[in-house]
């Protein structure tokens, strides 16, 4: 900013203000024209070199300047309206986006997150197989599964489900094998998921006659096979993601 000229102009303005009577210093926009043209007059005179009649030019300039002075308030108004419109749109768009995201379907990432879905299915199937398989001759894997794959109330549920079976299995030297035949992830909500499991269990007693071993939640059908008993079971498990693994937190046997 050219300070010398600035000062000069200011001085001139002051003088101009002092000249006309009763002009308040804090001139309202309306009152500026005169002073502005005066300033412009001196400034433009030398620049343009149109050294015609100063008086005439002032009049001409006055006409030009007047609309220009009206621009700032109009611009301000336009900006205000624009701000309100844009702000309003922003608020509306935000609420619409939130509304779309609030759809309960989106809170569930089962199948939409394929990698996680198959990870959960795989780990749940492995966990169920380990938790419900028992070999009287080598109980290590079974005990290990009970310690590492369960959490929360599932520990007690697992014990209740298997207590009777295990006592019998130990007596009859049974080998129980559980295989998950079908499973589907009902819901994934962050670190929690629920999986519907269909499993087959085979019980083979190595001490005499094969006996049916009701072991998991329920057996819709049982059917004798060559060397054992097969039973189908259905139940749902709630799993929770902890330290990179999915642990069984709840076993829902549908009230059976």
């Amino acid at each position: 900013m050219p300070t010398p000229r600035h000062h000069l102009n200011r001085e001139r303005r002051r003088q101009a203000l002092a000249g006309p009577p009763a002009e308040p210093a804090a001139a309202r926009p309306r009152q500026r024209p005169a002073l502005m043209t005066a300033v412009r007059d001196t400034a433009t005179e030398s620049k343009r070199g149109t050294a015609t009649e100063p008086k005439r030019e002032t009049v001409a300039e006055d006409a030009v300047v007047r609309p220009r002075r009206l621009v700032p308030p109009a611009t301000l108004a336009v900006l205000c309206v624009l701000t309100l419109l844009l702000g309003g749109f922003a608020g509306w768009a935000h609420s619409r986006a939130e509304g779309l995201r609030a759809d309960p379907a989106l809170g569930n990432t089962a199948l939409t997150d394929l990698a996680r879905t198959s990870e959960i299915k795989g780990q749940t199937a492995a966990a169920v197989a380990a938790l419900f398989s028992y070999d009287h001759a080598d109980t290590g894997p079974f005990e290990q599964a009970g310690k590492t794959l369960l959490t929360g109330k599932a520990v007690a549920q697992h014990r209740t489900l298997l207590d009777g079976v295990l006592a019998q299995a130990a007596r009859q030297k049974t080998v129980i094998t559980t295989t998950v035949t079908d499973s589907a992830v009902e819901r994934i909500d962050g670190d929690r998921a629920r999986v519907l499991v269909y499993a087959d269990q085979s019980s083979v007693s190595t001490a005499g006659t094969a006996e049916r071993q009701p072991k998991t939640p329920k057996q819709p059908r049982e059917q004798a096979q060559d060397q054992g008993v097969y039973a189908g079971a259905m139940f749902a498990v709630d799993v929770v993601h902890r330290d990179g693994r999915w642990l069984v937190e709840n076993i829902d046997t549908f009230g059976r």
Binding site: L79, L84, G87, A93, T112, L196, P220, Q225, G232
Partner: protein, 180 residues
Amino acid sequence: MTRAVRTPAGSRPALAGALALTLVAGGFAAWTGRDWYAAAHDDSAAYAVQRDRALAAGEQAVQNLNTLDHHRVEQGLDLWESSTTGDLHKQLVDGRAEFTGQVKTAKTVTTARVLSGAVTELDDRAGRARVLVALRITVTTPDSKSTEKDSRMLGELTRAEGRWKLSGLGQAPVGGTAAG
């Protein structure tokens, strides 16, 4: 430079402030607008919605097909037919007369309750889905004795005219089958 000097001293900061506010508002508008567009055109959201629709339709259809009252066989079978499509629908239509006779002779009332259900596969584009539905079926005989039985249903759904319908239904086999 001369022009800057000429601008009324009072409105310059106001103008600058207003302009800044407008720009900020414009920024927000652009951001939220983009966000909204993204939310509205989210493929996985559309997929999730289809998944839930398929499951709801599948559970309802499986329940329908396991519900029949010998007093109202015709309505029951109409519902069966309206819940199905494809081969399953054809089977039901073909076997209707025979089945009606059986149920009227047996005089049973069968009701079903869905315990749990989940989608295993969903091909949104082809309009096909597979569901597991855990079902508890209650059969009441004429002497008012009722028996409960749990069924492990496997359903196959096909989308027809925007609606998911059952195109295949069976029970999960037990014993000796390879793990799926």
